[in-house]
């Protein structure tokens, strides 16, 4: 095929232009903004006041931002382990030849389609309710009165309540990614495995898992990207005013850029931009790390 430079340029340019405007320009502008103090997020550059690394310093010294990052870390790490392992478990079960596979897959994925607002309202006002909630009813029925009287949404338990509710909704999405990865593995490997006399666990350990390395990277990256943007669930679990148990960097950023809920607080869009930069750097680091640790080019399928 003859390479026609004109054609290549003509086809690539529109995409490149759109990419630059929609992705590249905002990234560069945000990085720039993080070095200034800016009151209104859409202020023109003439109204920015240069502050150097002051925004980043402020983030390092604000305890609330530290709390937010700690919450985010626990959501990413503990939530990640829960969601990945549960998703993998479901995926392995679904590919082991059970009946009604399609129905189960749809059911497990369903929470992902439902709006987060609806899900959170259900969890908060029904499941966790201390008056007539699902958990309270179950525990009272089982005569576990001390468990029944736990206030699932008070300061001591709210974070775990939030994490559990969020993971419940996210399992389906990651299960689908695992599923597609497992289904890509050639059936002849499993057949050879069975002929050689391996049981399900050995099959999983020696065939499935090693051949899923690429999918592990995908899942970790997708999980990192979505958990770094953890916002809606935090807002729903702490209406109007933020809570130390549910605050995440995105929520803190929102407060800095648009002001707090009811009180008029000082706004600094530059600080918000700095938070964005910090979070992006975190995700890039995670991505680079997983790429280094999980090399999937030593297997040939």
């Amino acid at each position: 095929m003859k390479k026609n430079r004109g054609m290549i340029v003509a086809f690539v340019t529109p995409a490149l232009i759109i990419f630059s405007i929609i992705f590249l320009y905002p990234i560069i502008r945000t990085i720039l903004m993080s070095f200034y103090k800016i009151e209104n997020v859409t202020d023109s550059m003439s109204e920015w006041s240069f502050s150097g690394l002051a925004n980043f310093n402020k983030l390092l010294t604000t305890p609330l931002f530290g709390t937010a990052m700690w919450n985010l870390f626990r959501i990413w790490f503990i939530g990640g382990i829960i969601v990945m392992s549960t998703g993998l478990l479901f995926a392995v079960i679904l590919t082991s030849g059970i009946r009604f596979k399609r129905a189960f897959r749809a059911i497990i994925y369903m929470p992902n389609i439902v709006s987060a607002v609806a899900l959170a309202t259900m969890w908060l006002q029904y499941v966790y309710s201390p008056k007539y909630g699902l958990l309270k009813d179950i525990f009272t029925f089982l005569h576990l009165d001390s468990l029944a009287s736990i206030q699932w949404t008070d300061t001591n338990h709210k974070f775990w309540a939030l994490l559990f509710a969020y993971c419940f909704g996210m399992v389906g999405y990651h299960m689908l990614i695992w599923l597609s990865g497992i289904e890509r593995i050639g059936v002849e490997y499993f057949e050879a495995c069975t002929i050689d006399g391996a049981n399900k666990f050995q099959q999983f350990r020696h065939i499935t898992l090693p051949l899923l390395k690429g999918v592990v990277k995908t899942n970790i990256t997708m999980w990192s990207v979505t958990s770094v943007a953890f916002f809606v669930w935090s807002q729903l679990f702490s209406m109007v005013t933020t809570d130390t148990t549910t605050i995440t960097p995105m929520v803190y950023m929102y407060m800095q850029v648009f002001g707090a809920g009811n009180a008029m607080t000082e706004r600094n869009a530059g600080l918000g931009a700095a938070i964005g930069v910090v979070l992006s750097v975190c995700v890039v680091c995670i991505f680079v790390l997983t790429n280094k640790l999980l090399k999937d080019d030593d297997y040939e399928i």
Binding site: T42, V240, T241, T244, I247, T265
Partner: protein
């Protein structure tokens, strides 16, 4: 066939892109506000708004489904029929205004008037508002306006009138009169001691005296501290971390006492809004709740029409600087864009919406307080609010300023919830606040 399909799909892709190119460049947050209801004649990219005959572009903070939104829509229709001035009414919702208004105005979108909370319009949007003194004088607006509210509007805008109030509200204790009568509480508590007294009787009658939700819990500490040392000192404490102020310790002791005497709901530390107001207050299990005068409207479907609402100002505290004459009262306000070319017509619309017939309709439909003093008939559910509001002379801002430090609000909230739930003692509360942790 394939070629035609390809052509149609290409057209489908190109046409919206060129249409969107005319829209104001906005952040993704603003694009979700554009996705929110946009009624009547609005098309994307209204830079083409007719300059010949006056059209007033009005961005409203309500949703078209809310009672306020419905009344405004009706009023706008009648206004256009009466005066011939066209109105482009767009319902943006709360987040649409909070996130999208200033970016849209920065990008040059034609917006003539907008509304939001009195504090937000006069601080966050201050640079975009027009001075309304001349227009107000021209239409003699202050003849029938509530003087306290107009004074508050001037106050927040450093002495100039830049916004017109409507939907006034006051933040005070709302209570279930039936429970008070049953428990034998006569009158309303005006001091802390009387409040404790009333709580004891209510508890003896088998009801929960006081409840709250996490969303409003900061108002309880805000009011309590402001009663003791005044709002300015509260702002000082919170912004400069002066938690060793004796008022803080006093608050902790008082609320620890409320908890230990069993006057606070057992669920208060776990209530996520609106659990407390819906499942405890509205269902008649709890008696009192520090909330806003929008509360009866919010829970009217749960309480039914027979619920008897009472209201009293937060009690005075011994040795306090402010008393029951101080509370957070405010309003939603309408303002005009300082770059508007149709400011006179816009002000006419404001008068139409906030006075006379449609102000009365707004008050009735949204169970709210009328803005026009010539509308003397308040909704029955709010009749007890009238004397409370009439007696107010000092205005607190939201939560009496306790939320002024964005980095501390979350910590305050968590600690107050723990204190009210009995998870920490008064001393631990003060120690936590000094250390800035929860």
């Amino acid at each position: 066939m394939k070629k035609i399909l390809a052509l149609v799909l290409t057209a489908c892709m190109v046409v919206p892109m060129t249409a969107c190119a005319g829209t104001a460049a906005t952040t993704t947050a603003a694009s979700t506000s554009a996705a929110a209801d946009s009624t009547t004649t609005a098309a994307d990219g209204t830079d083409a708004a007719a300059q010949s005959d006056a059209t007033v572009v009005y961005w409203s903070m309500w949703e078209s489904t809310e009672p306020q939104g419905q009344v405004i829509a009706k009023a706008v229709e009648a206004f256009t029929a009466e005066t011939g001035i066209k109105v482009d009414l767009q319902f943006k919702g709360r987040t649409g205004i909070r996130e999208g208004l200033t970016p849209a105005m920065d990008a040059g979108t034609v917006i003539d008037m907008f509304d939001e909370d009195i504090d937000r319009v006069n601080t966050a949007f201050a640079d975009y508002t027009m001075d309304l003194e001349k227009l107000s004088a021209k239409y003699d607006y202050e003849a029938t306006a509530n003087p306290g509210l107009i004074a508050a509007c001037r106050d927040v805008a450093d002495g100039t009138l830049k916004s017109i109030p409507y939907q006034p509200n006051v933040f005070a204790f709302f209570y279930n009169k039936a429970i008070f009568t049953e428990a034998g509480v006569t009158g309303v508590p005006a001091t802390w001691a009387e409040l404790l007294d009333a709580c004891a009787k209510i508890k003896a009658a088998g009801y929960t005296p006081i409840t709250c939700d996490d969303a409003y819990i900061t108002c309880m500490i805000g009011y309590h501290l402001a009663r003791l040392v005044g709002e300015e000192a509260v702002v000082d404490i919170v912004t400069n971390n002066k938690w060793d102020d004796p008022a803080v310790a006093q608050f902790a002791i008082d609320y620890a006492e409320l908890y230990s005497l069993g006057y606070l709901s057992a669920n208060i530390s776990g209530n996520v809004w609106p659990a407390g107001q819906n499942t405890e207050l509205a269902l008649g299990e709890a008696a009192m709740y520090l909330n806003g005068s929008w509360l009866p409207n919010e829970v009217k479907d749960i309480t039914g029409p027979d619920f008897s609402w009472g209201c009293f100002s937060y009690p005075a505290l011994a040795g306090g600087v402010t008393g029951t004459e101080a509370a957070n009262y405010g309003a939603q306000v309408m303002a005009i864009n300082k770059d508007s070319k149709v400011s006179d017509e816009a002000f006419q619309l404001i008068c139409y919406l906030t006075q006379g017939e449609y102000d009365q309709m707004m008050s009735v439909e949204s169970v709210g307080i009328p803005a026009d003093t010539s509308n003397t008939q308040w909704p029955v559910m709010l009749s007890d609010v009238q004397p409370v509001m009439a007696a107010l002379t000092t205005r607190y801002s939201w939560a009496a300023g306790v939320e002024s430090n964005a980095d501390m609000t979350a910590v305050i909230k968590a600690n107050v919830l723990n204190l009210c739930g009995g998870n920490i003692t008064a001393d631990e509360f003060v120690a936590n606040m000094k250390a800035g942790k929860s």
